[in-house]
Amino acid sequence: MVVVLFGVSLFVFAIMMIIPPGRRAAIYVTQEKITPDQMNAMIKKYGLDDPAPVQYVRWLKQILSGNFGYSVTASAPVIEGFKTYFPITLELVLYATPLIILVGIWLGTIGAVHKDKPLDHATRVFAIIGYSLPTFWLGLILLMIFYGYLGIFPPGYLSNKGKDILFSPAFKRYTYILTVDAVLNWRWNIFWDALYHLALPTINLILLNSALILRLMRSSMLEALGQDYIRTALAKGADKRTIYNIHARRNAMIPVITISGILFAGLLGGMVITETIFARDGIGLWMARAALQMDVPAIMFNVLFLGTVFVVFNLIVDVVYAYIDPRIRLA
């Protein structure tokens, strides 16, 4: 794991080195115009054309001591920016991912159990819609229907009234995850307010992402149902429910878990379009701005963060595997 993280850091550093020293020097520039001499002085001062290994070690030292630099787009140190934006993304991901997985597994099972029957076709239509619709289109349609016509589920992450309370000193931020903090502060109005704003993006994410899990679950469930041990269970006199729920599903879950881990980690990296459309100030939106404005420290930090997240999730997936599949438990 440490090796993988080391690789990630090297990769991130390599990306950074592609940018010529002059451009990187621009990060430290505060005034509008600067002469080439000043530029060279800057490069020298920060050692931007030192040999790569020297720069790498220097960079790594800074990272390890927790200094990730200053983010222009967040107008704050990168860490501070991360603290403001990340919880908003995390909250959406925490609500959406379990639902995506549940919906996917549920519909996938239905599809497999009723193979080639109308219910199966219905899940297929659902999957095709999820696969083929562009995120922005579906998001806009949802906003149009719910917010535009019905006047419910507004964009943003909290109403203005809610924000007043949120930023008042009486409201303590324990976790920075809104709904959790609301409960901890015993402010149920904030809690419902936050959920109300979470609804649409969550539905959007479910529609878009559960298709993948659904199709995977369907095919792996079908595969499990064709195995010899299902025949043994049948010969034992087991009823359909037992066969689906106990004998087939556990085996069918194994590939689904891998994808679920990747999905969770991927969503944590930010959902640029979803967050833009629903005006949620998360990592995705921040990254989009950072990319447009060459906010290198912010981008670096997030790439590094995402790499770490993926590594950690691989580990978690392995642990869950071992829980489900005894053959791995021993090895």
């Binding site: 025949r231 010969a235 034992k236 599949d325």
Partner: protein, 428 residues
């Protein structure tokens, strides 16, 4: 002799993309109570499909399209038998693993890799012996409550007892209702008028809908902490599982119940599969090539085990193999199959002494004998494709005695001498 199961002209087809595979072409066999019945034939001749049809577990895209499968289980149906093709799925579930059990070709893939051995065997008890297990658990609990010194634990035990009793009550009601439905269905068995058929369908659907479980118990089962009361039942069953495994010669049964299939050797796996099948003392054990992937010594052990079990705990065995030696060793009567046809049925002695069907003769000549000097013969040609099977006698393209009539209609099964049945135009 009393019949146990009879199939009359079953046709089973597989509806594949390439076409309809006519896997069984009117197979008729009769297994009597107490006998070991052999089913032999080349690979792909439909032995497995025959026994799966008997259990009604033909996997999709297969379907039994015609015929009758009669069961003669309890006293009242000794006469006419129950046609299981007319019964509900729930009825079949109550028969499978209880009255008819099956063990399979590949033990390693027949066990579920993610469930413990203990659970997989226990499931047989849970499915068919739940009432006895519940009664036993209630008895143990009663004993514990009476001798109980712990105040709170006592209340917890009383609560457990209450839940188990509720479950037992529900189960008894279920059994009673099901028995009523089955009795009525038996009366309606051969009825052909519309009203009776409607009633029969209605009753079958009703039986499928009935649930063994009591809603309250089901609800409690999902509550956190309280749901652990069920462990008591599993403890009771575990004792039975360990006993059963011990009986079947599994070393260290106490440890084995907590293991998973991949931790066991092939021979042990097959013993577990046998344990699952024998848990409820079936009247018929179907063994579908139970030793084909084991090495020779283990093979001998498993065969010996089946022989011993045959004498002690199972009434009849339907034994599938392509090993004629095993047939001679194990079976009383045997049916030779070829490409979905049951060609010849006879007592084992008669078949080896006086084979009638040209295919049987060929099969016997292709078996190595110790004394024989001659080269082994093989039957020319290959097993036909069953999507477009040969007309008439399916063996006619390979048969040295084929006549014109052979490619016309299917030869009828006739009794040539007592107990010796044959389907071949040479003997008509």
């Amino acid at each position: 002799m009393q019949k146990l199961i009879e199939t009359r002209d079953i046709y089973t087809d597989f509806f594949t993309f390439e076409g309809v595979v006519k896997a069984l072409n009117g197979v008729s066999i009769i297994v009597n109570q107490g006998e070991t019945y052999g089913l032999v034939g080349e690979s792909g001749c439909g032995k497995s499909v025959t026994v799966r049809s008997i259990m009604r577990i033909v996997q999709s895209p297969g379907r039994i399209v015609d015929g009758k499968i009669l069961l003669f289980l309890s006293l009242e149906d000794k006469e006419q038998g129950i046609d299981i093709l007319k019964r509900s799925e729930a009825y079949m579930e109550s028969i499978r693993g209880n009255d008819i059990s099956m063990i399979f070709q590949e033990a390693s893939t027949s066990l579920n890799p993610v469930l413990s051995i203990g659970y997989q065997v226990a499931e047989s008890f849970l499915l068919h012996r739940l009432d006895e297990m519940l009664k036993e658990t209630i008895d143990t609990l009663k004993g514990e409550i009476e001798s109980g010194k712990f105040f709170i634990a006592g209340w917890w035990k009383k609560f457990q007892e209450f839940l188990f009793k509720a479950e037992l009550d529900g189960l008894e009601k279920y059994t009673e209702m099901v028995a009523g439905i089955d009795k009525r269905l038996y009366e309606l068995e051969d009825a052909a008028d519309k009203a009776s058929i409607d009633e029969r369908n209605h009753l079958n659907r009703k039986r499928d809908r009935l649930r063994k479980t009591v809603p309250v118990v089901q609800f409690v089962r999902h509550l956190p902490f309280i749901k652990h009361y069920g462990k008591k039942l599993h403890k009771t069953i575990r004792i039975h599982v360990v006993d059963l495994l011990k009986e079947l010669g599994v070393a260290n049964p106490h440890n084995v119940v907590d293991m998973y299939p991949h931790e066991l050797s092939g021979g042990m796996q097959q013993r577990i599969v046998i344990a699952i099948a024998l848990a409820c003392h079936p009247k018929l054990l179907i063994a579908d090539e139970p030793t084909s992937n084991l090495d020779v010594t283990i093979q001998a052990q498993i065969i010996d085990l089946i022989k011993i079990l045959k004498n002690t705990s199972i009434a009849s065995v339907l034994f599938i193999t392509h090993d004629l030696g095993l047939v001679a060793e194990m079976c009383d009567r045997v049916t030779v199959m070829y490409a979905g046809d049951a060609c010849e049925t006879a007592a084992v002695k008669d078949l080896f002494k006086e084979p009638l069907h040209p295919y049987t003769k060929g099969l016997l000549r292709s078996v190595p004998k110790l004394k024989a000097q001659k080269e082994l013969e093989s039957i020319p040609g290959t097993v036909p494709n069953l999507i477009h099977p040969p007309s008439g006698c399916r063996f006619h393209p390979r048969c040295p005695h084929a006549k014109d009539i052979c490619s016309g209609d299917k030869p009828p099964l006739i009794e040539y001498s007592e107990g010796h049945f044959i389907a071949c135009y040479l003997y008509i």
